[in-house]
Symmetry: C2
């Protein structure tokens, strides 16, 4: 294994100076003849420009840090797809860290990324804290958030409140009056807060309507375990804060021989394929996370270029009417 080939070695082999090789590698203002000699020398030696030396010099890494809450989620996958679709053409590469839904780990990841010299960061956040603000302030690089929102921060996000309203209004119009909202902790201001509030506000526009809240986690196992408690409340519909939660419930209901939607309706949020594969197929609100990813990346790119105009960060929502809800 041919160890360390430096730009120097290439220069000598090509009979030119280091600077010429460097120019070849970058702007490339050199004579055709030398261009060829350098090219040959490089391919012969298998030279690879040293990443660290280059970055030390240029102060730019062409690296974008990406902090994700988890890996086993369709939406995260979509988000990522959107991100790389925008980042790659611009010559940037993403390096990702996973926070495992922990605010602490998220913070650590952001710090670590900054320290590692990435040019910018995209955080699919689980919750934005005071510390986030401080870090962003002292970061020296642009950071854009997704998943959560906070005044003063650059955020690209679906309108959780509107999504909640969409579902709430739909169920109300179908005649439902007694709902349980199976949600997550309020710590998650977007999903645990806005989405739920939107749902309640719209659903409760019917005079005699009522929404009970039951907290669970993001996994469907947690939801499955809460199902019995939900049933005690005897709702006509249980609106779940995420598709995953719905899946856990659906499974429980199936095991208990409770027919969905005949005996109880169930809805989710997210609208991905898994919801289509279960029985009954899940009625949900579709979030285009791929679009979110693209917009977040575009936003970051824009800031990297120095521009700072606000651009349209609107993400459309689509209602997906499938089989898990019945009209009363």
């Amino acid at each position: 294994m041919d160890k360390k080939i430096t730009i120097q070695d290439v220069a000598e082999l090509a009979g030119v100076s280091k600077s010429t090789v460097s120019r070849y590698l970058n702007h490339g203002y050199i004579s055709p003849e030398k261009t060829e000699r350098v090219r040959a020398a490089i391919s012969e030696t298998g030279f690879k420009t040293n990443f660290f030396a280059k970055r030390l010099k240029t102060k730019r890494s062409q690296l974008i840090g990406v902090v994700l809450p988890r890996m086993d989620s369709v939406s995260v996958g979509k988000l990522l797809a959107g991100l790389s679709r925008a980042l790659e053409p611009a010559g940037y590469q993403g390096i990702m860290l996973v926070s495992q839904l922990s605010v602490e780990k998220e913070l650590m990841s952001i710090r670590s990324l900054i320290q590692q010299g990435v040019d910018g960061i995209i955080v699919d956040s689980v919750a934005i804290t005071e510390e986030h603000l401080q870090i962003v302030e002292g970061a020296g690089i642009p950071i854009v958030f997704t998943g959560q929102q906070h005044p003063g921060l650059d955020c690209v996000k679906i309108d959780d409140y509107a999504a909640g309203r969409m579902m709430g209004a739909y169920l109300r119009q179908l005649g439902h009056r007694l709902a349980v909202f199976a949600g997550v902790t309020e710590t998650d201001a977007a999903v645990g807060g806005d989405r739920r509030r939107g749902f309640q506000d719209a659903f409760l526009e019917a005079e005699d309507a009522r929404v009970d809240f039951l907290q669970t986690g993001f996994g469907f196992l947690a939801a499955y375990n809460r199902a019995a408690d939900i049933l005690k409340l005897q709702p006509t519909v249980v609106a779940c804060a995420t598709d995953n939660i719905s899946l856990g419930l659906l499974r429980y209901f199936h095991e208990m021989h409770i027919k969905v939607p005949e005996e109880i309706s169930v809805t989710g949020f997210g609208g991905y394929d898994v919801g289509a594969v279960v029985y009954p197929a899940l009625t949900s609100v579709f979030f285009d996370y791929e679009l979110v990813g693209m917009k977040a990346a575009s936003r970051l790119l824009r800031r990297l270029e120095g521009a700072d105009e606000e651009l349209d960060m609107e993400i459309p929502l689509f209602f997906i009417d499938r089989e898990s809800v019945r009209a009363l």
Copy 2:
């Protein structure tokens, strides 16, 4: 934003030399008094050691590159969990790239990682080609593979052939004689090759048994679309190469009012929670990908330390008997 604080600035503020600060940051063989002064100076300036300069000097990045085939997969999530569980305590951090199931992208990712100076790489490969061998040879850093196997390469992998056999034998013993194996391309030597072959070999140990092969993709949508073709073969059981494939089929059968397992049995491979949430719950073979991740990381760590002994890379398999198969 306080611009660039270097180790020099800290040294001056603390009234010591750069080396002393550097020592404080690293081995730390300095007097208590100066230790304190340096500590103070650092926290006052908010100094952060420059990653690139440090790496340029030390030649080690403490970074492990991780190449993943996709994000939206439970097994990948588990694998990742296992990886970081082993990597983090050792002071390493993972940077991941996604190949999107493309061999080309996988190759590119590996190259890019090497070029970026990671200390080692773990590749959850979709297929190992000649080019992989070449890259590994010239990499200059340890690379361990997962998901696929190849002589001469460091691989940590479940025994796909054994898993296939396990399922094949099970179905045979239950009296099934006509199976369709819904698999993936042979390009994937592990899943498309070994797993299928194992299944066939075990299933065909019954004299009058027969296995038809039908190719599909990794997504359940692809499987869903192949379902009609599978039915034409009139099998008593369809063994799917992955749980995901099973899900697509289950959905189709449900829509066609074909009862599983009464009219047709379905099995998967993977054994994760999703399989438990669908109806009927999926009979499968469980792969402990988290263990795979841990072992792969341990292996890499070992090689990073220079050791090169073979260690036990055995990954146990567990049969998960649920509801989607009936005895004939």
